[in-house]
Amino acid sequence: MNEKMNEKMNEKMNEKMNEKMNEKMNEKMNEEDIKIEFKCINFWYNSKQILADVNLKIFSNKITALIGPSGCGKSTLLRCINRMNDLISISKIRGKIVYNQKNIYEEDTDVIGLRKKIGMVFQKPNPFPMSIFENVAYGLRIHNIKDENKIKQIVKESLEKADLWEEVKDRLNVSAFRLSGGQQQRLCIARALAVNPDVLLLDEPCSALDPLATTKIECLLKRLKDERTIVIVTHNMHQARRISDYTCYLLNGRIIEYSDTAEMFDNPKNKLTKDYINGEFG
């Protein structure tokens, strides 16, 4: 009984929230350039609804953090942006995601081109079983860049941007599996950067790393946002607070609160957000 009532209350709150979405976004948010916009996204695995009526604006050259408890749909939301969910045949999506003035779920969308523009880094570092150099060159080779000098040049730049060049420049031909976890994750970031994406999605990139490696990646992301838009899913609220400009709190597939990070953490408007941030959740 109680659960049901809670659910109903949540629903009502959410309805109100959606209505007030624009109102609730603070002034600052209205002035930002919108990079990606979710318009009423609903998402199902089999018959289980994972995302419900998600409306979300992601701003250019900002870091947007998605936070929320396990299973709240934040990874799914992230994977909607580069259509990685397409790979799961039992999934179904309704709604629009607008990127470059175009709904990426139109039938004529070039998914390959989309994934080239929207790079992704996964939770567990997943370097390919090849050399460090070939890992970074992989994306270039699949996009038909044949000029070896150009490839060398881009690999070097990408590794530099990912803060890894100094550590690996003398052993580019060594297997990527020889690197430590943190180095592997930075390699994955370099690999994503090599194809020069416009947006970088990160799915809990630091959850398998120690604090030092985490700090390195956080600094790296802050630097990268000058050139690209970053969306990061994180379990770690301190991390969201440290690096993000905007934070979005998701619960049971719905957006509970979305605002400027400092405001969200200092002065959450929704009680549910407050509970979660203060660790009183569940």
Partner: protein
């Protein structure tokens, strides 16, 4: 009450005995064949043409060549087809009732007795397609028999490539084929190779299907086209052991068996070396 430590010891002894027993039996067979068969092995036996009347005057060269040709024929037919099928089933086909049924059917076909493939080959390749009893009919028949083994082994090898490799590749904007070609196949190649070769080795050791589709016991010449009949080591061995009247037949049968074992052994160790070289390159 048996305490945990002695339970542990009992199981340890049990497993060790089982391991020694099975290895022992295999070793015994090998040694027996070697001891009994090595006497007849000489250059004439290996490279001489078969002499039907007085078997000591000839050798089993046509049977060796027949078996090698057969191995090549079966490989050419079943490896490309089998591996491609496995790639389709594991990478492209949607996971639904239909594909699941197909996969189950393939696994069942892997268990169908070889003589059934033989009778199919006789009816379809030899008679219906009018290929006659020939090397090509036998290769096709054994190829059909090997297909399910190769498909199953390759599918397992493909599945063992972590999903995260594929995911990483797709996320960079790779197409499915690029992902398969650059990531999945290179990383499952050694498994596919092993499965395929084991299948081929088993196939060339088969006797019953090839009797029906073109193997012959006596041939004074080597097959010169795929439509020729051929001699093969397993069938040769079978006739020598059961039907030949020569007093030397038993010894010659064991010699033939030894040659067959060595041939398969050479074949497998070649692949083993290749696989070792490939594996040195990969780490995960």
């Amino acid at each position: 009450m048996v305490n945990e430590l002695s339970k542990q010891n009992i199981y340890f002894i049990f497993f060790r005995t089982a391991a020694f027993l099975s290895v022992g039996v295999l070793l015994f067979i090998l040694l027996y064949v070697f001891k009994e068969g090595v006497g007849v092995i000489n250059l004439k036996f290996l490279v001489g043409m078969w002499s039907q009347g007085d078997i000591t005057r000839g050798g089993i060269f046509p049977a060796i060549i027949g078996t090698i040709f057969l191995a090549i024929g079966v490989s050419v037919i079943s490896i490309p087809l089998g591996v491609s099928t496995a790639v389709y089933l594991s990478e492209y086909a949607k996971e639904n009732l239909f594909t699941r049924t197909i996969k189950l059917a393939i696994r069942n076909l892997a268990g169908v007795p070889s003589i059934v493939y033989g009778i199919f080959g006789l009816a379809f390749f030899v008679l219906l397609l009018n290929l006659g009893g020939s090397l090509i009919a036998a290769s096709l028949t054994l190829g059909c028999m090997t297909l399910p083994w190769i498909i199953t082994a390759s599918e397992e090898a493909l599945k063992s490539v972590p999903y995260s490799f594929r995911e990483g590749s797709y996320a960079l904007g790779a197409t499915k084929w690029q992902t398969v070609k650059r990531n999945v196949l290179p990383n499952s190649f050694s498994g596919i190779l092993t499965g395929s070769i084991l299948g081929i080795s088993r196939a060339v050791g088969e006797t019953s299907p090839i009797i029906l589709v073109g193997a012959t016991f006596f041939m004074g010449y080597l097959p010169s086209s795929p439509f020729d009949k051929f001699m093969a080591l397993p069938y040769h061995l079978f006739i020598l052991a059961t039907q030949h009247s020569s007093p030397y037949a038993r010894e010659y049968a064991l010699g033939t068996a030894l040659v067959l074992i060595v041939l398969v052994f050479i074949f497998n160790s070649g692949v083993f070396v290749l696989r070792y070289k490939l594996r040195k390159k990969k780490e995960w």
